[in-house]
């Protein structure tokens, strides 16, 4: 599919899922006319087929089904307040998941993201508190730190050719240990001191953790940030050259390189994107909760990946989109809280969650298969 990345910018929102479509494209008269006759060479799909070809459609169907289901079984879910809480929970996973989704479209994987969220927050809190400097200084320092971890992850993957799973597993352990070790060393305890009396707290809190009151319900600003990041990622994927590069790099890196895509820079950029949003979430966590425990964040890296996969991103790269990942995060947020709203036995929490997620993946897969089958026929 990556032999022809050149004629992309004309219209078609998504260049990626071309692979299954190609046999259909070649059978009608197109071959004899050559590649330049773009109108006749492009297959026209009906609206239903075009809809089904979108990666997020399976997740959307699952989300709607679950939403209706929970509205039916959990009366407490039927309020604006509850929806806001669900959106908040989704956003705390969803922000990093957007970048993780892009990274996975680019064919890579990051296990260090969950811990990096807390590394950034811990660094900010401890640096500013111990030296008594303005929190903004610590925040910027934490950003530089996070970005360099992201850069290092990407650089190591590209330089050594070792799978990103292993490289980021390494950084996961290093960060996990360093979070604990450094925090203990600096504060004498394994949690950071409260920073809400320090200079810069108010402005940072307003940016990262402000709570709006909308008609009696409270909405955390992370939800707006989340929507913004999803929008940006979607725009980047569908409307920019970088978006095309991402799909090309994830689909087939060697041939992307052969047509002049800067594969190394794209992939390192993707890792740094994950690091940036991990830092962002770390800032939210710090300024929303004021103190952090050094052991936290472990396990969240999987939630980001789960959100991306449920949202239609392929683990193998080259396929997926940002809106799907956002829906994936929403499914997670909704499921985890609606079990509480429904008042189900807590001991089954994880089991329910697993079933819901599997169901979402299966629906997603089913709809995707359906769309590819119908396209051929």
């Amino acid at each position: 599919m990556s032999q022809d990345p050149t004629p992309a910018p004309t219209s078609a929102p998504k260049p990626a899922p071309a692979a299954p479509a190609r046999p259909a494209a070649e059978t009608p008269s197109a071959v004899s006319h050559g590649a330049h006759a773009e109108a006749s060479n492009r297959i026209q799909l009906g609206w239903s087929n075009r809809l089904l070809a979108r990666p997020e459609i399976g997740a959307l169907v699952a989300a709607i089904i679950l939403f209706i289901f929970f509205l039916a079984v959990a009366p407490a879910f039927r309020s604006v307040d509850s929806l806001m809480t669900v959106l908040y929970q989704s956003s705390t996973i969803g922000i990093v998941a957007v970048a993780v989704g892009l990274l996975m479209i680019g064919g890579e994987f990051d296990l260090s993201a969950g811990v990096l969220v807390y590394s950034a927050g811990l660094l900010n809190a401890m640096f500013s508190y111990q030296l008594g400097v303005n929190l903004w200084v610590g925040a910027v320092l934490a950003l530089v730190f996070a970005l360099s971890i992201g850069w290092l992850n990407g650089y190591m993957v590209m330089r050594t050719g070792i799978p990103s799973f292993l490289i980021t597993l390494g950084s996961f352990f290093i960060l996990q240990g360093a979070n604990l070790g450094v925090t203990k060393l600096v504060t004498g305890s394994v949690s950071t001191p409260n920073i809400n009396q320090m200079d810069g707290y108010d402005s940072l809190n307003a940016i990262f953790a402000h709570t709006f009151s909308i008609g009696g319900a409270s909405l955390n600003i992370t939800v707006l940030w989340w929507l913004l990041f999803v929008g940006l990622a979607h725009w980047m994927l569908t409307r920019t050259r970088i978006g095309n590069w991402l799909y090309a790099v994830g689909g087939n890196a060697p041939s992307a390189r052969a047509v002049g895509v800067p594969v190394t820079r794209v992939k390192i950029g993707l890792f740094m994107g994950v690091a940036f949003l991990a830092w962002f979430t770390g800032m939210h966590t710090l300024y929303n909760y004021n103190t952090l425990q050094a052991s936290n964040g472990i396990g969240n890296e999987f939630l980001y990946i789960v959100a991306a996969v449920v949202g239609g991103t392929l683990l193998t790269g080259g396929y997926g989109n940002a809106i799907g990942v956002a829906i994936g995060a929403f499914i997670f947020g909704m499921t985890s809280l609606c079990i509480v709203y429904a008042g189900w036995d807590n001991n089954w929490f994880k089991a329910f969650l697993g079933v819901m997620l599997l169901l979402a993946v299966v629906v997603n897969l089913y709809v995707k298969n359906l769309s590819t089958l119908r396209k051929v026929g």
């Binding site: 409260n194 966590t285 936290n296």
Partner: protein
């Protein structure tokens, strides 16, 4: 990176550093400048030459275990012993760690017995090898069977019941007991203790490793059930999360917690947390090591065949002023 770019980076770093200096001068609320750290009045024991192994089921990074370790280290210092601390939440690996201690011929072993059945074999092996073993923190009902000589800790069920009694006395009818680690026997026992005194107690499980998830889950529960009048958290960091949930849900429930840290102690002083049930982890670590020292050196036996209880100890507005400074030293 070429020369000029490198120079730019250096300049940027220099500017940032000087900005830091300037801001440092005018920022409040940070660490207090102290001329010396806390008064560790120099350990009086000299070097007794004993080596004591402490093996726990700690999952690294919990403020609670940090205090146990701090207590054990101070005790080792005071008795002039060498402390070898190791931990693993996996029972099989903890058993291996005990075996390691036996193999390295330590003078005494202090271990937690969160999973008595899995560890009984190793504790017996220590006895066979002539190494005295004491249990602490968990295993109050089984420590004698496993061959451990003494026990230092709290009775989780009793602690929960004590909290439950006080909630009933204050008129609580429907407490929500928040379990932050799924499948923990000790945490379940605490909630069961509360329930034994307040029949309307309900449990909820949350993901203790993610602050946002804890807050959202408790908030969701409060929204789903407005009759909840008490929240019982089983760890100090979770109590702080619960406060956030209550604030966001506009809940009028009262908050009660187990264990302490500096931040939670401050909230007790401010009246946001009603009281804490403290099992004094620092004391558990301290006593376990000291008791081994006395046993090896002097043949002492503490508790007279009965467990030595380090809790439940109440921390509430009445005694918080005394306790608050100690929480800041990580000893309470």
């Amino acid at each position: 990176m070429n020369q000029s770019r490198f120079r730019k980076v250096v300049t940027a770093v220099a500017v940032a550093t000087s900005a830091t200096m300037v801001l440092a001068a005018c920022s409040g609320g940070g660490a207090e400048k102290t001329d010396d750290t806390t008064g560790d009045s120099g350990g009086g024991g000299g070097d007794s030459g004993y080596t004591i192994a402490m093996i726990t089921h700690e999952t690294p990074g919990d403020t609670f275990w940090d205090k146990i370790k701090a207590g054990a280290q101070q005790a080792a210092k005071d008795t002039g012993a060498t402390l070898k601390y190791s931990n693993d939440p996996d029972p099989a690996k903890q058993a291996t760690l005990i075996q390691n201690a036996i193999d390295s011929k330590v003078d005494g072993i202090a271990t937690t017995l969160a999973t008595p059945d899995a560890l009984a074999g190793s504790v017996k092996a220590a006895g066979t090898a002539g190494i005295p073993t004491v249990a602490f923190n968990s295993g109050i009902d089984q420590y004698l069977e496993t061959g451990a000589l003494m026990y230092f800790g709290s009775d989780e069920n009793l602690a929960g019941a004590t909290a439950g009694e006080r909630i009933t006395a204050d008129g609580g009818k429907h407490p929500l007991c928040v379990i932050q680690a799924a499948g923990s026997v000790a945490l379940e026992a605490r909630c069961a203790g509360v329930k034994s005194k307040v029949a309307g107690t309900e449990n909820i499980q949350v993901n203790g490793a993610d602050d946002a998830a804890v807050v959202s889950a408790i908030q969701a529960k409060l929204a789903a059930d407005s009759s909840i009048d008490y929240i019982v958290t089983l760890g100090a960091p979770i109590a702080l999360n619960a406060l956030k949930s209550m604030e966001q849900a506009g809940s009028k429930a009262k908050l009660v917690t187990f264990d302490l840290n500096a931040e939670a102690a401050q909230q007790i002083k401010d009246g946001k947390i009603q009281f804490s049930i403290d099992q004094q982890p620092y004391v558990q670590g301290y006593l376990a090591v000291t008791a081994l020292y006395l046993n090896v050196k002097n043949g002492n036996d503490m508790g007279g065949g009965k467990p030595v209880l380090t809790g439940p100890s109440f921390v509430d507005p009445k005694n918080i002023d005394v306790i608050l400074p100690f929480t800041k030293n990580n000893t309470r």
